[in-house]
């Protein structure tokens, strides 16, 4: 199953590379989770997209640009061992100067299965921009967390995470659809930290007649204190 998922991801990326309007780059992120009480969870996250290659109308251009840097903060609680809810805020430092504010609400479910975990996340967000109308979105993400050594991930072991997220948004009455497919190899140091590295493949502008694709080389560091 893990090789099938990886195969689909690679194949999709290859097909995508043959299309027009493709942007690629590096996407580091770091996340700090702190639980001051058993019920309350606070999360701080920074993620940044750095563009390196642009392909428009079949022409490649190599140029570094800072696409965006997002600063996020969440406060959440668990309803039961498998379900949690959170609200959050994001400040986006945009490469084009269109810095924005975003409010976020989400509910997450985790299903422990034999040999894998399945995570579901439903999120709504509202983005407030300086020179455009607010954007409202509904998102659903499914994620598969698969151990690569044994039937569960123990300290000092590798794992694979694959996820897909469908995003539906509206801005000034215009409908927007985006999809995010991610495949990463993770290393679990222990309950306090893990590293993940992989490919984040995003497609949008489905309804505008010109599909845009973004392929990010992603690296994430997750710390729990």
């Amino acid at each position: 199953m893990r090789f099938t998922l990886l195969g689909i991801l690679v194949l999709t990326a290859v097909v995508a590379a043959a299309q027009t309007r493709t942007y690629s780059g590096f996407f580091p992120e770091a996340q700090l989770t702190y639980s001051p009480t058993k019920k309350l969870k606070l999360v701080a996250k920074v993620e940044s997209q750095h563009g390196l290659i642009s392909q428009e109308n079949g022409e490649n251009a190599w140029e570094y640009y800072l696409d965006r840097t997002d600063f996020q903060g969440f406060a959440g609680t668990s309803i039961n061992p498998f379900t949690s809810v959170a609200v959050g805020y994001q400040y986006r430092w945009d490469g084009d100067g269109e810095n924005s504010h975003r409010s976020i609400q989400q509910i997450g479910f985790v299903q422990p299965k034999i040999g894998l975990r399945i995570g579901h996340r439903i999120r709504t967000d509202q983005t407030f921009l300086p020179t455009a109308s607010p954007e409202f979105r509904v998102r659903y993400r499914i994620a598969f967390d698969i151990p690569l050594e044994g039937q569960k991930v123990d300290d000092g072991e590798y794992y694979f995470v694959a996820s897909n997220e469908a995003i539906f948004g509206t801005q000034s009455g215009e409908l927007k659809i985006e999809n995010r497919l991610v495949g990463s190899l993770g290393y679990y140091f222990g309950k306090k930290q893990k590293l993940e590295a992989g490919i984040d493949y995003r497609t949008d502008d489905f309804l505008d007649g010109g599909l845009r694709q973004r392929i990010w080389l992603k690296a994430g560091w997750y710390v729990n204190i």
Partner: protein
Amino acid sequence: MALRAYISTLFCALFVSILLAQPKVEKEMRVKKEAVPENAVRWIDESLESLPNIHWYLEKTSGVQSYEAKFTKSDRRYSVEFSEDGSIEDIEYIARWKDLPKEVMNKLDSYFQNEYDRVKIHKIQVQYTGADSTLSRALRKDDILSLTRRYEIEYYGKKNREKVFWEGLFDERGGLIEKREIIQRPVDNLNY
């Protein structure tokens, strides 16, 4: 200059200590058949007439090492555990609720009803222990009901405001022996 070197060293030491300070309590890793004690491999070979696809694992729990053979036979997912020297310890398989004996089902049902407002069972593992030859014969003939058995059940239990994911060990009649809370691996990468 010395101060800068000191601060750099301090940061490096802090970073390295964060990376290395994770105690390894339990670890299961896939191993090749050749790395498993010979008597354990022989036991499996002799107990299973037609050999299914067997995966071998090395398990380390708080410094104690053991080996596990995992395979599917007659639509059952088995796990046979051996000690470090290759002696058979127990046979486990994953069962469904409806596969349990009626008497056990009733006892478990009444335990769950008395203890919790709501229960959801996630996984049932039936454990069999017994003499080496008895275990081997039972596995060969799929006749493991004649052995001493226990039930390891992972379940979610809600009682008033307490909502906990439990692993309970029950005896062959379905009576509780012990239970412990299952602490799940952080899900921050799945939720955020």
